[in-house]
């Protein structure tokens, strides 16, 4: 353990008087070969900086998915058999001056349809619109069935052919699905490929979305003939990526605010700049390493670089403060840097190790984007060990600090400023080592925590709003989404149950009856707007076979009636069954994709499958956007607890290794626990659900919070172990590291608080949560550590606290 005994670290004004062989091996290795350290770091920065410029930003549909969840396994195993249930884009083309039965509108729709057809990444065979042959009508006449594509094959733009189209639309039953209920718009459904056929790489949603924005919206909306609304996962990610420029700007603002506050505190431009520089170097290393590892940066782990920067500032400021105090006492900057390294390296390393392990355990969560985030954050924190614990002191040993700043720091440290604000604050915080204040603080904390806990029980998993909660309610995407929800009966939130049976099994009467039963059950489940399945088609065709009589709208137990119905459906290009009719979906259109809705539907299906599955007929969850979301919710819900257990486990272990005292571990961990509980309560209050985007925030917050406790408590304990009473020991810790804890807490919180103005709702939410955690962790450390120490860590009369090294 680093010792605070000043007799061991005498003031050395001339580096020549300093024993270069003092300190441990690492210290000697670093500081006796300073130029090498700088050179290596420079080379690394150059290499990784170059890599950073090549880093791709993207998010793929599959990376958002918990790949080993049974729902997803079922989906992936049957993916090739289920059409139109994967990642689709919906493009609604609105006629602002009339309805869709307008030759000019149809002409424009055709142009858009063709342009989309040729867009790279579209699964063309399954594209649906008024202009694709996939969309058909059927009618019953005296002579049996007749039917064909909704768009008359001889369409020529004449009033007659528009009239034909109008009749076809009427008898096709696509109103509310492909044509708006008010007839003022129609939809183009665009299934997307996973892999870009030209590059052979995963389809870049950023590029795809930008292409659609430019070549479709930009080109066809310009003259006001039509209005275009676009929704779908690819568009959402595209919008998020397009918004990243702004996110970056907010990162920059946060960094500038941090720099400004630190400068105001230190009044030393050199060291402030170095702290910022080293933290930025860590970010560059992190981004560059991602590219070296073949990873992409996705919108959901975009906050990681900023967190790395924030943690870097926290550690950097501690180093800078230590060096500044030593220089103020008259020690040479080289020696001061070594002293600070000696005192704080272990605490810093432990804190960063706790961070790295804490983030690393996020990798157990089986969702690729969270794994990426875990890897990115761990790499970033590992980089910080070098940049902010090694490189920063080395650089400071070269440039030193502004002399004026050093004297300011010393004045503050020596307590000569008692009476000014800072002194009064230190004295105030010191009071929490006294019984009365400690008791009051703990009682109040307990009350707040219990209240917070009660509220946090209402924490919801998944999306709480309809549309895309990642974006603001008034964003273009969410406005488009609302337009489509208001004008189309069928939502884009689709949960499909996969029915699996033997080849041609769908022609069996029991299979169709069970499928129909499930569909009927789903239709009655809250949140389900409509259900579509092969069973409905069989009813329709059976009725059609009897001149459309509603009395024949049935599933007959006569195979001579089921077979032709299935054959009629197979003759169409259908997405309601596969080629040999062994896999077919029961598609539930949901009102929204809120967690509650999904849960109800999943439970209904599970209960049904349990009662109705047989050896050769299985009802399996799940496909469709909402089906995948349901699986994600289940994984996220489990992961939310699991993750906290792992993060805390890692931190408890590292704290124990550092302090060698269970009591000290409790003192360090309790403030973090309080923060976690209150943060969950805050999420409830702000209406933020736990989902892939927000899941890691709390874990990251805990990781950052532990830094404060480690810096403060390690100094306090070191002094106490020399027999100094708690109150003076805490005062010393406050002056040495506590002030910087307060500074960093305020600095980072005010930086991320500006995110509240971000156009990306997800960043705004994250900013609020992080700001809260930075502040509350800081307050928790400064108030609860002394209060808990009063009860748990009083100074023993002799060196009874064992294992002081």
């Amino acid at each position: 353990m680093a010792s605070m005994d000043s007799t061991k670290m005498p003031v050395v004004e001339n580096p020549a008087d300093f024993d270069r062989r003092s300190g441990n091996t690492l210290e000697r290795l670093i500081f006796n070969y300073r130029l090498w350290v700088v050179a290596i770091c420079l080379a690394l920065t150059a290499l990784l900086g170059w890599q950073t410029t090549r880093l791709q930003i993207n998010a793929s549909f599959e990376r958002m998915i918990p790949l080993s969840h049974p729902f997803i396994k079922n989906y992936l195993a049957n993916k090739s058999e289920l059409k139109g249930l994967g990642n689709t884009l919906r493009i609604v083309v609105e006629n602002p001056r009339g309805d869709v039965f307008d030759a000019k509108y149809l002409q424009r729709l055709s142009e858009i349809n063709d342009a989309l057809f040729l867009t790279r990444g579209v699964d063309r065979a399954w594209m649906k619109s008024l202009w694709t042959p996939l969309v058909q009508w059927t009618e019953v006449t005296e002579d049996g069935f007749s039917g064909g594509p909704v768009m008359p094959p001889d369409y020529d733009g004449s009033d007659d052919s528009v009239q034909k189209l109008r009749i076809n639309v009427g008898r096709s039953g696509i109103i509310g699905a492909l044509v708006a209920s008010d007839l003022k718009s129609s939809m183009i459904v665009l299934p997307l490929l996973d892999v870009d056929p030209e590059t052979g790489r995963p389809l870049s949603y950023g590029d795809f979305s930008a292409r659609v924005e430019r070549d479709i919206r930009g080109k066809f909306e310009a003259d006001g003939t039509v209005k275009i609304h676009i929704v779908g996962f690819a568009k959402l990610v595209g919008d998020l990526i397009a918004g990243l420029r702004k996110v970056m700007a907010f990162f920059a603002i946060a960094a500038l605010i941090a720099a400004g506050i630190i400068y105001c505190y230190t009044r030393c431009p050199r060291s402030t700049a170095l702290v910022m520089l080293c933290s930025l170097v860590a970010v560059v290393w992190q981004l560059g390493s991602l590219n070296l590892l073949g990873l992409e940066l996705d919108p959901y782990s975009i906050l990681v670089p900023f967190l790395v920067f924030a943690i870097g500032v926290s550690h950097g400021a501690q180093k800078m403060n230590g060096i500044m105090q030593d220089i103020g006492r008259g020690t040479h900057r080289y020696v001061a840097a070594r002293y600070t390294f000696r005192r704080l390296f272990l605490a810093g390393l432990t804190a960063l190790a706790a961070d790295a392990v804490g983030f690393g355990v996020l990798a157990v969560i089986d969702i690729p984007v969270i794994r990426n985030l875990a890897i990115a954050a761990s790499i970033g924190v590992a980089g910080l060990v070098v940049t902010n614990l090694l490189l920063l002191p080395v650089l400071l040993s070269f440039v030193g600090v502004a002399p004026k700043a050093a004297h300011r720091a010393l004045r503050a440290d020596s307590g000569k400023t008692v009476g000014d604000f800072s002194g009064r604050l230190l004295a105030f915080l010191g009071r929490f080592t006294e019984r009365r204040w400690a008791t009051a603080a703990l009682v109040i904390t307990a009350v707040i925590t219990v209240l917070g806990f009660v509220v946090s029980q209402k924490l919801k998993i998944g999306d709480l709003d309809s549309g895309a909660p990642e974006l603001r309610q008034d964003s273009r995407y969410n406005r488009d989404n609302r337009y489509i929800n208001e004008h189309y009966g069928l939502s884009s939130d689709v949960l499909a149950v996969i029915v699996k049976t033997d080849a041609d099994g769908c022609t069996q009467y029991p299979t169709m009856v069970e499928t129909d039963r499930l569909g009927w059950l789903l239709r009655q489940t809250p949140g389900v707007q409509a259900v579509a399945s092969l069973a409905d088609r069989v009813r329709l065709y059976t009725s059609g076979g009897f001149e459309g009589s509603p009395k024949w709208f049935t599933i007959s137990n006569d195979p001579n009636l089921i077979n032709p119905a299935i054959a009629a459906e197979a003759a169409l290009t259908t997405d309601l069954m596969n080629a040999d009719c062994s896999v077919f979906p029961v598609v539930a259109y949901l009102q929204d994709h809120k967690a509650e809705t999904l849960k109800g539907v999943v439970e209904t299906v599970r209960a049904f499958a349990k009662a109705h599955d047989t050896a050769n007929l299985k009802f399996m969850l799940a496909a469709g956007s909402a089906g995948i979301e349901a699986a994600t919710n289940i994984v996220v819900e489990r992961a939310n607890r699991q993750m906290l257990v792992y993060v805390y486990g890692a931190i408890v272990l590292l704290c124990f290794i550092t302090f060698r005292s269970w009591r000290a571990v409790v003192v360090a961990i309790v403030p973090l626990l309080v923060t976690t509980v209150l943060c969950e309560a805050l999420m409830v209050a702000l209406g933020i659900g736990v989902k892939v985007a927000t899941l890691p925030v709390i874990a990251l917050g805990v990781g950052i919070g532990v830094d404060y406790a480690l810096y403060l408590l390690s100094v306090q304990l070191a002094i106490q172990r020399q027999g100094v009473a708690l109150a003076p020991a805490y005062q010393h810790a406050l002056r040495f590291t506590g002030k910087v804890v307060a500074l960093v807490g305020i600095t980072l919180a005010s930086g991320v608080a500006t995110w509240a103005w971000s156009p990306i709702k997800f960043q705004a939410d994250t900013g609020l949560l992080l700001a809260f955690m930075f502040l509350w962790n800081m307050l928790g450390a400064l108030i609860l550590i002394p209060a808990l120490s009063h009860f748990l860590l009083p100074t023993r009369s002799t060196a009874a606290v064992g294992a002081v090294s």
């Binding site: 005296e142 001149e547 509603p550 709208f553 599955d613």
Partner: protein
């Protein structure tokens, strides 16, 4: 001893395994033997047939759902139904006694105004009735015998399409492939009566309606029949149309309206001897109908039009403001109609002065 002890263990294990396997593969519960599930959609459940039962209304529909309303269709409650096959028609000759029919030859009976139902008959029993009514075919020697054998095999799958009772005891149920059943004891016993129809092509029978004097059946390919009380046979009437007739409306003065595919409707004032084509101006099939107080016919189409006959001319007027949903039948209660269809039950007011 050891051997004896070991054997039972293995047996228990294998029994356990076979139990687990069998419980994993539950057997299929056929809808004809499975009571209808509770529908939380209530009156939004897809319904096909509807009828008045005294001052109540009773509707039957898909998956065996039966609903009844004590207040002219404002509120609906689900009845206990012993089957979950699709039901298509219902009739109440008295306020308490009612019959409903549907797929797989199901006949249900209620003695409490439609609140609860018992199954009187199903297709398997119809097959037995058929076999009892005809001599066993001789080793498929003639074409007629092969036909008979095929019919016997098909009977459990054939739907009943309509039901009509002239009083609490005598009634008829009709269905696909010339299926006719008759009872004279309120359904205690049903008789296979298909032989009493002049329908050599075994066309499907879709609708049966009668009054104190006459009883009519309409069906596939323009089939129209009237019961000849002299010999108890249904005899073919001249048909005005070669397409299918889905329904019959018969008013109190004996004026007959038959309607069917592609907007076709015909009126007869002489018990079906001559027909007058009516102008409906719709292309969709006319699938359900009834008569207003004043005797005019009111019809519904597959695509959601409600048509009311004009007082004098042979043409129909569209009732305005009806949601265009796929309807199947209707019933008149006071100054409103209740429409039954795939989107459920809907109330619609009749224009002022129309009852």
């Amino acid at each position: 001893m050891i051997c004896l002890q070991r054997w039972p263990t293995a047996r228990i294990l294998s029994a356990l395994i076979s139990f687990l396997v069998s419980s994993a593969a539950l057997s299929f519960e056929p809808p004809v033997d499975t009571p209808a599930a509770v529908s939380t959609l209530g009156p939004a459940s897809p319904m096909v047939g509807i009828a008045g039962a005294g001052d109540h209304l009773v509707a039957v529909g898909l998956r065996g759902v039966i609903l009844y309303s004590p207040d002219d269709g404002r509120n609906w409650q689900q009845s206990r139904s012993p089957v979950s096959v699709d039901l298509v028609a219902v009739t109440f000759p008295t306020p308490e006694l009612g019959w409903a029919v549907g797929h797989q030859g199901v006949i249900l009976h209620s003695v409490d105004g439609g609140r609860s139902w018992k199954r009187q008959l199903s297709g398997k029993q119809i097959k037995d009735l058929f076999l009892a009514s005809t001599p066993a075919p001789q080793a498929a020697s003639t074409e007629g015998d092969a036909d008979q054998a095929w019919l016997a095999e098909s009977l459990p799958t054939l739907p009943l399409m309509d039901v009509w009772f002239q009083d609490a005891r005598t009634g008829y149920a009709i269905g696909a492939f010339n299926l006719l059943l008759r009872t004279d004891d309120g359904g205690e016993h049903w008789a296979y009566a298909s032989a009493q129809i002049d329908n050599p092509d075994k066309l499907h029978l879709y609708s049966i309606r009668g009054d104190a004097h006459d009883l009519y059946i309409a069906g596939e390919r323009g089939l129209v029949l009237r019961l000849d009380p002299a010999d108890g046979r249904f005899k073919a009437l001249p048909s005005p149309y070669r397409g299918t007739f889905f329904g019959i409306a018969l008013n109190k003065t004996g004026v007959l309206t038959i309607f069917g595919m592609r907007g076709n409707a015909y009126r007869s004032r002489d018990r079906g001897q001559t027909w007058e084509a009516e102008r409906t101006k719709v292309q969709a099939g006319l699938v359900g109908g009834s008569n207003l107080e004043d005797g005019r016919a009111i019809l519904v189409s597959q695509t959601g039009q409600v048509l009311i006959e004009s007082p004098d001319t042979a043409q129909f007027q569209n009732l305005e403001g009806v949601l265009p949903l796929p309807y199947a039948s209707l019933v008149i209660t006071g100054n409103q109609i209740v429409l039954a269809g795939m989107a459920g039950l809907r109330l619609h007011a009749l224009p002022a002065g129309v009852r």
